[in-house]
């Protein structure tokens, strides 16, 4: 089987209000080029917005920037969002199940759950030198 051609776009965005929209809009354009359905483009945009605002709010990154890499293949869009901040503990996000949190109308701390809901695969690599969230959306 022939190896799929990968096309890659990298964006460095400053940690600044509304910059998450730049990352989301870029994803939207790339997903349109790949002929994703409109609903799936919205899912990708929301996932990238939540990932970026998590990094903006919690990374305490010294370089005050987030790097977004978009990798396009024939039938998948992979997104890697990297900050060079302090990292975060996964336990923070696990104290209540989504259903229990919804019942309690918990207002904040939904970012990771939304990201997982919107994307097909999500991988989080977090340590003292920063966090990389890798997300994959398959074109159905």
């Amino acid at each position: 089987m022939a190896e799929q051609v990968k096309r890659e776009v990298t964006l460095n965005i400053p940690i600044h209000p509304n910059m998450e929209l730049v990352a989301a809009h870029t994803a939207s354009i790339l997903a349109e080029i790949m002929e994703f359905e409109e609903n799936h483009i919205d899912e990708i945009q929301l996932a990238i917005i939540e990932t970026c605002i998590n990094a903006f709010e919690h990374s305490n990154s010294e370089d005050s920037k987030v790097t977004v890499t978009y990798v396009l293949t024939d039938d998948e869009l992979e997104l890697k969002i990297t900050d060079h901040g302090i990292g975060f503990g996964m336990e923070q996000a696990k104290f209540l199940t989504g259903e229990a949190r919804a019942r309690a109308m918990q207002k904040r701390g939904w970012g990771l759950e939304i990201i997982r809901e919107m994307m097909d695969e999500v991988d989080i690599d977090s340590g003292d030198d920063g966090t990389t969230i890798t997300m994959l959306k398959k074109r159905v």
């Binding site: 509304n18 989301a24 945009q45 917005i49 939904w110 809901e117």
Partner: protein, 114 residues
């Protein structure tokens, strides 16, 4: 991609409609909350938020919508939403909004029994 956010309001007999246009996040959510409170202070405790021109709502924007619902409930009011995209509706359901506010496909169905 517009970063502008606009809110239009319209008052009817017994309820008010708020139409949003643009990305709903923390700062724009706060503007929406102020608008809702102004309408409450004018005596409109039943509000319809029409999101037809809003395609993206982040989790901070939703947290402010929850605050609006709580504020309305404390004052005997109710909140209705209409014209949600499938992704916005799914996120609302995930975060528990749908248990405390009604979701309608369009404004006509939202206002039928108000």
């Amino acid at each position: 991609m517009a970063t502008s956010f606009n809110v239009n309001t319209r008052t009817e007999d017994g309820y008010a409609v708020i139409e949003t246009d643009g990305y709903l996040n923390g700062p724009t959510g706060e503007r929406l909350a102020e608008t809702a409170k102004d309408l409450m202070n004018q005596g409109y405790s039943t509000l319809v938020i029409n999101l037809e021109k809003t395609r993206l709502v982040n989790s901070i924007g939703i947290s402010i919508l929850i605050e609006i619902i709580e504020f309305l409930q404390e004052h005997g009011g109710a909140l209705h939403f209409c014209h949600l995209t499938p992704v916005i509706e799914r996120t609302f359901k995930m975060m528990g909004l749908a248990q405390h506010a009604e979701i309608h496909p369009d404004e006509a169905s939202a206002t039928t029994n108000l």
